[in-house]
């Protein structure tokens, strides 16, 4: 019943518009009557941007970036506002020497030391990912070999550097 009456109405008002046939939207009918029985709707060539879900690997790269920031201690940097790099003054000559690692506590850092350690962790993670990519069967052999060697060297490098960093920071580590 309702579609029929709107059908006849739409036939009178807008003969070339097929979308009004059988529309159940009450607001559409209201708006059609009130301003647009007098005004003429302009012909627009607008296209609504279509939102599509990003691919998993795009999301993964964003996640990796966020992980890098969190693990570098960015929240600590924002709240405590440590200097980018520490400094100490030589008692004899008076020259100012930089100190990269804040020593004395486990839960304290300078900005640069946080960022470099975070980079090491992410590099290690990427190394393992490269290792998995190297074992994928659908690639050329040279690519597989280069991925594997890059992966292994990344893991080894980042592990060695991380151990070095923690040993510098906490002299009593593993003793």
């Amino acid at each position: 019943m309702a579609p029929k009456s709107s059908d006849s109405q739409s036939h009178i008002l807008n003969q070339s518009d097929p979308t009004t046939n059988g529309s159940i939207d009450p607001i559409f009918h209201l708006v059609r009557i009130l301003p647009y029985s007098v005004l003429r709707a302009p012909r627009l060539r607008l296209k609504l941007p279509s939102l599509s879900l990003p691919s998993p690997m795009t999301v993964f790269s964003l996640v990796l970036l966020t992980y890098f920031m969190v693990v570098s201690g960015i929240v600590y940097d924002v709240i405590v506002e440590p200097p980018g790099i520490g400094s100490t003054q030589e008692p004899v000559t008076g020259t100012v020497r930089p100190i990269v690692f804040m020593s004395g506590r486990v839960n304290g850092q300078y900005i640069i030391e946080g960022l470099s350690s975070g980079f090491m962790f992410v590099l290690g993670g990427i190394g393992i990912v490269l290792l998995d990519l190297a074992l994928d069967k659908n690639r050329a052999k040279s690519v597989k070999v280069s991925y594997a060697s890059a992966g292994v060297s990344s893991i080894v490098f980042s592990y060695v550097m991380s151990m070095l960093f923690i040993r510098i920071k906490i002299p009593a580590y593993l003793r």
Binding site: V80, V106, G108, S142
Partner: protein
Amino acid sequence: MPPQTMSAKTDATIGVNGTAKSTSNQAPPPMALPANLKSDLLNKLSLKSFKLKTKQQELLLRVSILFLVYVLAFITRLFSVLRYESMIHEFDPYFNYRTTLFLTEKGFYEFWNWFDYESWYPLGRIVGGTLYPGLMVTAALIYWGLRFLRFAVHIREVCVLTAPFFASNTTLVAYFFGKEIWDSSAGLVAAALIAICPGYISRSVAGSYDNEGVAIFALLLTFYLFVKAVNTGSLTWSLASAFGYFYMVSAWGGYVFIINLIPLYVLVLLITGRYSVRLYIAYNCMYVLGMLLAMQIRFVGFQHVQSGEHMAAMGVFFLMQVFYFLDWVKYLLSDKRLFETFLRITVTTTVGLAAVALGVGTASGYISPWTGRFYSLLDPTYAKDHIPIIASVSEHQPTAWSSFMFDFHILLFLFPAGLYFCFKRLTDATIFIVMYGLTSMYFAGVMVRLILVATPAVCLISAIAVSATVKNLAQLLRTKSKVTQGGSSKAASGSKASSKALLDQSQPFQRNGAIALLLGVFYLLSKYATHCTWVTSEAYSSPSIVLAARGAHGNKVIFDDYREAYFWLQQNTPTDAKVMSWWDYGYQITAMANRTVIVDNNTWNNTHIATVGRAMSSYEDEAYEIMRELDVGYVLVVFGGVTGYSSDDINKFLWMVRIGGGVFPVIKEPDYLVNGEYRVDKGAAPKMLNCLMYKLCYYRFGELMTEYGKPPGFDRARGVEIGNKDIKLEHLEEAFTTSNWIVRIYKVKPPNNRW
């Protein structure tokens, strides 16, 4: 299995090798029979009769690994029990111990309705309505169970060992969870990683009788049951997850994490187009039943419908109903365009109604806004500016990279790799673990204490990385000629013969490479185990109430001053004496010295704490007024100047000033600083040199020689000689100082007799 014995029997009758010798002459059978018997026995005794099928071998391997991991998780937490004794650590566990003692002595109803007049004098504390009873009830149940079996244990032993016991149970839940997300080998690795991970050990060591010990078990159990419910769509698992949520709500205030993560997860599933009836059943059952059960805990009350932190769950609940409704309408309608219009109308109406309801609720005050504790997680700078008491707790500081490294070690490398594997194989379960991992890592970055909540997620995701990598490498080891057949067709070089030769050359290289990489993986995991054990032994096994240091000759020196002071209080003061100290020591004083305190670790009344802070930072006369008002009999301070103990009251003094000054503007922080610097030596501010805390800590200290070659009155914790050595107390007198001067107790003198 029977063929062996049957053939033995037939051999006995027919003869060996099937020759019919049964009716032959006498000589051979006597010699053949013993030989037959011998081989028969040998066959039975050899392991061939015990040969298990591969499935049974695998089951045996898994069960034995899980058993070993269970035992490992328990014994790695026992360092402090072996080094010192079986005692409760830190501050909060003493309150939990006292309440558990009350529960076992007086029964559940007395416990549930308990009003404690011995703390927060003169306000008192409604204990029944302001604690999470899960931990106490669990320990009491274990205690009653053991007593029923006629094991005469003391409740203290049960309390001390509750946390390691539940840590072992967590490894089992981690195994099942890993099995649900990926496969059983990932589950085994996850169980092994979580058994020794320092992030979890730090709060669940033996003696650390705190809510988190039980809460992490409840958290992982709830998540496992929910993911199982979403995977199977079964009503049983959904109801089980609701009960798991109830246990979590009864155990810890961190249940807010669950009630926000699960709706977020459901939302992500809806956005990625993974709506299904299984999800509908799981979430509805868990939310409705879980909410009703959570309201049984008096401390939580009606927060699930009234508090802003719980509104996300309700919003997603209604959104699910809308999704189900739309799905049903889509099924009924055959016209696609009609359905699209209907969809648009419904979505607009729903969003509009929800916004209106939320607005009305918030504006009328029915829905309370986010509390400071949880709001400071979303906006970390909030606590620093507005709530100094939250900012002062050392566990609430943001996390630096070294804390992450200390608590996770190689898991920090494996976590992004595990995320990659999860993103490669996206299922409902892997989406959940990814979300849990990311949200918990963000919160761990905001607050050091929350590394504990991130640990299970990090262990599970790292286990996926380890398991997938080891599987890949082991597959490389196992491939033999089949790869050459397939690989030669894809070879880039010329003729098939040369390519086959190349691949034949690379086969052993591949195998050697895989073996080397596997050895590397095992090396890394063994370094992880070494690191975890070292960290547990050195950093996380100190009871905090007993201090240890290295003496001059490398021998271990133990400072048991705290317990000495509390015991003195218990023995030498009247039973109704009130003790004033900073809130850190309140729980310990009430539990061990059995005396009434003014403020304790519950910190529920900021003004009361500020009053104490004001008293500590005022001159002696003003402080005496405040102490007379509060009817204080004794004052307790902690002083580390003789031993070099750095967590004493002088180092905490600025927080007393800040908190006191937050409520009473008469206390101003710059009065105690010199050029923005906090000093206690000759150049210190005059207000600092004469305030009550300074006088009580350094009374008679000016005459003491603390270090060879330094003047008397040298403060070893600050490294300076104190400024005001000639201290006279007018309204207090020294009652007791412990053997290493760590705890000092002063008696408040009654007012002079009026003439």
